[in-house]
């Protein structure tokens, strides 16, 4: 007789004198929100399991001797709850002051200055001085990997990152450890992340409420390149950035910012503004041909997509025996880098060593990916520097560009031309949908009447579908987040996998939920970014990758045909087992 809640049943209670009716099982926090009452939280995140350790969300429930934490306490029928009594204000403020007593209070020199949940609370609770003695101890900042910086002296031990890494990603690179004053978040044996199983997905960063976790800041490198008159600096923009960048400037999630983003990049001084969508289209053509080749010639099935570097890091460490399943295609960012310093160099007459390639990505793992030894097909590091959406926001602000006043501008040729199929790469299921649009025509020679593959869309962790392709049934699956990838990998391992083609993205919801996206990502926000991605696709003139005229020119002028020798040299790679952790 497990006590389960019946969401169809309504309960009625009183919060701050207001009568609220909510489904059974609703927490006091959610019920209060419905009633227009905002209860402060720190360890709570709407998409993660509850830990109830920060104790800031206290409320008074009549008849209860102690205060209750509203994030985990379910509202009961007839409850009388108060969220704003002198005692509750005192308790919350004391908790806040206790957190601050063991905090550097370093806002002026902090990555999260102006965008920090703790700072916001200090303001909300009118903290003007802290009565407690400081117990804070400085700790060294860990920044020895290309993607993620950990400043544990700012950690408030909320455990959100651990929940992300352990439950959402099931990577378990980090955990809570020790007791008492030493309690905190560490890797196994307190090694640096680079010696752990960390895949650099940045999902820990995405949920951290304070400045304890952030991406390696590479803006200085880009400023330096931009101010070097000898350098031809080009930038590529990933599909998911355009639907999130607006949030950096206070716009609603899901605002479509493509034109303004291009304008801002041009103002920053980039010589050419290109689109990763171009190489996303290219990926579809290469990967689609690879898939058909494997199906026809008895190659390794299912084919696993390879565009998410966090996912690649994961399979290399956790399922090395399945690496042969992975498509040999490089990620679109790396295809772009290789072409920028070969094809584009030739076409523009600028020597490769004078071309500086910047990627604008929603992703922290891409910062690691571009440093991989495999990613030097041009003879140079193909992509020089990766910036996240957040870093671009910082650069625009620093440059004094009034984002609001920017007018839409267009990408540059030749890598600025792309299709709707490419933009949906930004959402989980998009690669699959784009591939199906192209594969259908490759196989049948006919264009699809309806281009929308609804079953592979959406935020659900695992999606599956069956499609007819020239009389053959093709079974496909799509997973986002590594815990969901794990489910499918286990199926392959134990022989219960019936799929031909599997798309995997390391981050929940796909790249729109990447570890480099603006802070405050929740499933609600993801839903809006997702809608924007499909909106762009719907309004695109071209919606199938192989119809991209610039792609066809590229093959004609440079690559020959899909899977050609040249294509293999520049656009394909292979992966190896890694044992870091």
């Amino acid at each position: 007789m497990h006590h389960t809640f019946d969401p169809n049943k309504t309960i009625t209670a009183t919060i701050d004198g207001l009568t609220v009716s909510v489904p059974e099982g609703t927490t006091i926090l959610e019920a209060a929100k419905k009633a227009g009452i905002i209860i402060p939280t720190l360890c709570h995140h709407p998409d993660l399991g509850v830990r109830a350790v920060c104790r800031i969300c206290l409320v008074a429930v009549k008849g209860q001797r102690r205060f209750k934490t509203s994030c985990n306490t379910v509202l009961c029928d007839g409850d009388v709850v108060n969220t704003n009594t002198p005692e509750i204000r005192e308790a919350r403020k004391t908790v806040l002051e206790l957190i601050l007593s063991n905090h550097p209070q370093d806002c002026l020199k902090c990555e999260r200055n102006g965008n920090c949940e703790l700072q916001d609370l200090a303001k909300q609770y009118n903290v003007l001085e802290i009565p407690f003695a400081s117990t804070h101890q400085a700790l060294p900042i860990e920044e020895d990997n290309p993607a993620i910086v950990r400043d544990m002296s700012k950690c408030i031990k909320c455990g959100r990152c651990v929940e992300s890494c352990q439950v959402v990603q099931e990577v378990a690179a980090i955990n809570t450890s020790c007791r008492s004053t030493k309690y905190g978040v560490t890797t196994a044996f307190n090694k640096p992340l680079s010696a752990s199983t960390c895949v650099y997905c940045g999902q820990c960063i995405a949920v951290c409420p304070v400045g304890a976790l952030y991406e390696k800041d590479d803006t200085e490198k880009v400023w330096t390149a931009l101010s070097n008159p000898d350098m031809h600096v080009v930038v590529q923009t990933a599909p998911a950035v355009r639907v999130a960048l607006g949030e950096e400037f206070g716009l609603a999630p899901g605002s479509i910012e493509t034109g303004k983003m291009v304008a801002a990049l041009r103002r920053l001084g980039f010589d050419k503004i290109f689109d990763t969508n171009f190489t996303a289209d290219l990926t579809i053509v290469e990967e689609g041909n690879e898939l058909l080749d494997r199906i026809e010639n008895g190659g390794k099935l299912p084919v696993l997509t390879s565009c998410s570097p966090g996912w690649i890091n994961y399979i290399e460490q956790f399922y090395p025996e399945l690496i042969p399943h992975v498509s040999s295609c490089k990620s679109p960012q790396q295809m772009f880098g290789a072409l920028a310093k070969t094809y584009y160099a030739k076409k523009s007459g600028i020597p490769a060593e004078k071309i500086y390639v910047v990627s604008l990505m929603p992703c922290t793992a891409k910062k690691y990916e571009c440093t991989r030894p495999e990613m030097r097909s041009s003879g140079y590091q193909d992509v020089d520097t990766v910036l996240t959406t957040r870093e671009l926001g910082k650069m625009i602000k620093l440059a004094g560009i009034n984002y609001e006043k920017l007018e839409n501008e267009d990408y540059d040729a030749p890598f600025g031309i792309s299709t709707g199929a490419a933009v949906i790469f930004g959402a989980s299921g998009g690669v699959m949908e784009a591939a199906l649009r192209t594969a259908h025509e490759l196989v049948t020679g006919e264009s699809l009447a309806n281009l929308d593959f609804i079953p592979v869309r959406g935020l659900e962790g695992i999606k599956e579908a069956e499609v007819e392709l020239a009389g053959k049934k093709l079974k496909i699956a799509v997973a986002s987040s590594l815990s969901k990838a794990k489910v499918l990998m286990e199926m392959i391992k134990n022989g219960t996998c019936c799929y031909h083609f599997i798309e995997i993205m390391a981050c929940p919801g796909g790249c729109i939920g990447g570890g480099g996206q603006p802070f405050g990502t929740t499933s609600e926000v993801l839903q809006k970014r997702l809608a924007a991605v499909y909106e762009i696709d719907k309004n695109s003139e071209l919606r199938m990758s192989h119809k991209n005229p610039a792609i066809n020119t590229l093959y004609e002028e440079f690559l020959g045909k899909p899977l050609s020798h040249k294509a293999h040299e520049l656009l394909h790679t292979s992966y190896q087992q890694q044992d870091r952790g």
């Binding site: 497990h2 006590h3 004391t94 908790v95 206790l98 117990t135 031990k157 007791r179 008492s180 309690y183």
Partner: protein, 433 residues
């Protein structure tokens, strides 16, 4: 009324602890045999009538706990005996496990029968590694004689008891942290609800009781709940093992019926026997570090759960630490707080950060550096910790402080003026120590 009643400590020191024969000769296992003739609900009824209050510290009515678990229709259910005995000044579970383990085993077996459970776990604190051998021998012998294992006494009921070794942390005595520790996870408390009766060990319905609580079960079954209740007071049935320590003549474990007074406990020649060392009683600390301190004016309080609670005191684990006038309250509280800093699991803010801050203020007091503001801050902090901490550890960490603020406010005031009535603080520098 006699000040000593030996219901559960009768065998201690009298029989070979691992000998089933000795145990049987002194009336052992009669209760289990009787239990097998009773319906589980009848047994629960007797435990309720007995008003057996949990002996692990929280004094939760065992009958209600058993009833709640019984109503849950999910199996398997697990029986867990909390033998972490981590409260400083508490060593009564040790006595039972060392000198009469079969009584604990019999109590756990009856519980197993009531809940149709097949596995019981006893979580023994790491420091008690020495007595695990005896306890294991008692389990093995009980098994050999058919009182444990498959088909006990041909009733068809099978039940085993497994010994688990504690992880050496006080917080592992908190029942949900204890279950995490048995499961091999970090010994930190779980979020409740769900209650352990619903989602306990390995996510299954679970009963957690203290060693002494289980040791009382055979007596209750044998003598009936009403009779058992009559040994104690109207609200607290039976007897309590108390642990006397500190500046008192007779230290050790004593079994007293609920209803004696604190004065009896400290002064009765058969019990504490009065103060040792000729100094006067200053205060006593009850129930371990997490319990309150009492002043000599409270000595006539009746030792039972209700009367104690009404007086702002508590029975708790049964620890009674007696302190004389040589002790400085501030200095004493510093040690208590150090204990909680050390034992905090660290995951929630009020406990992890609060205890550190309490200590810093007490330290300031002991150095004559504190102000009225510090005192006010300490009171606020203590209030908030008690009402806002995640688990019982943080909630109780300031209990002793709180009671001392009540009884010894003048001593706090004195420290504001750099005076230490006990002559403990401010002396070290002057004497050049």
């Amino acid at each position: 009324m006699s000040k000593i009643v030996k219901l559960i400590s009768a065998n201690c020191g009298k029989i070979r602890p691992d000998s089933v024969e000795d145990y049987l000769n002194s009336g052992g296992y009669a209760a289990l045999k009787k239990a097998f003739t009773m319906e589980p609900l009848q047994i629960i009824e007797e435990v309720k009538k007995a008003k057996l209050l949990g002996r692990g510290g929280a004094a939760y009515p065992a009958g209600s706990k058993w009833e709640q678990l019984y109503e849950i229709e999910e199996f398997p259910k697990y029986i867990v005996c909390n033998a972490d005995e981590g409260e400083p000044g508490t060593f009564k579970d040790k006595l039972l496990m060392e000198q009469d383990p079969l009584r604990v085993i019999e109590g756990m077996t009856i519980a197993g029968y009531v809940f149709n459970s097949h596995d019981g776990y006893i979580y023994i604190r790491g420091e008690y590694r020495g007595l695990q051998k005896i306890f294991q021998a008692a389990i093995d012998n009980a098994k050999k004689e058919g009182f444990l294992g498959e088909n006990i006494l041909n009733t068809g009921f099978s039940y085993n008891i497994h010994i688990m070794t504690g992880a050496g942390a006080y917080v592992c005595g908190e029942n949900s942290a204890l279950l995490n520790s048995i499961e091999g996870k970090a010994g930190r408390p779980r979020i409740k609800p769900p209650h352990l009766a619903e989602v306990g060990l390995f996510l299954m319905p679970t009963l957690v009781n203290n060693v002494e609580s289980f040791a009382n079960i055979p007596t209750i079954v044998n003598e009936g709940g009403e009779k058992y209740l009559s040994y104690g007071t109207a609200d607290s049935g039976g007897t309590k093992l108390i642990c006397l320590s500190g500046h008192i003549k007779n230290r050790g474990v004593f079994e007293v019926p609920f209803g004696v007074t604190l004065r009896d406990i400290i002064d009765d020649p058969e019990l504490g026997g009065g103060m040792a060392g000729g100094r006067k009683l200053k205060f006593f600390h009850l129930g371990g570090q997490s319990g309150p301190c009492g002043s000599p004016e409270q000595l006539d309080t009746v030792y039972c759960c209700r009367a104690m609670r009404n007086a702002g005191l508590s029975v708790g684990s049964g620890a009674v630490v007696v302190l004389d006038e040589s002790v400085c309250v501030i200095d004493y509280l510093k040690k208590v707080t150090e204990f909680f800093i050390h034992e905090s699991c660290g995951k929630c803010v009020p406990c992890r950060e609060g205890n550190k801050q309490l200590y810093l203020i007490l330290d300031k007091l002991s150095k004559g550096e504190a102000t009225e503001n510090d005192l006010a801050l300490m009171k606020r902090l203590s209030r908030v910790m008690a009402k806002s901490s995640f688990c019982g550890l943080g909630q109780a960490a300031s209990t002793a402080l709180d009671s001392c603020l009540k009884h010894f406010s003048s001593e706090f005031e004195a420290h504001l003026n750099k005076q230490c009535p006990a002559g403990v603080c401010f002396t070290k520098k002057e004497s050049g120590e």
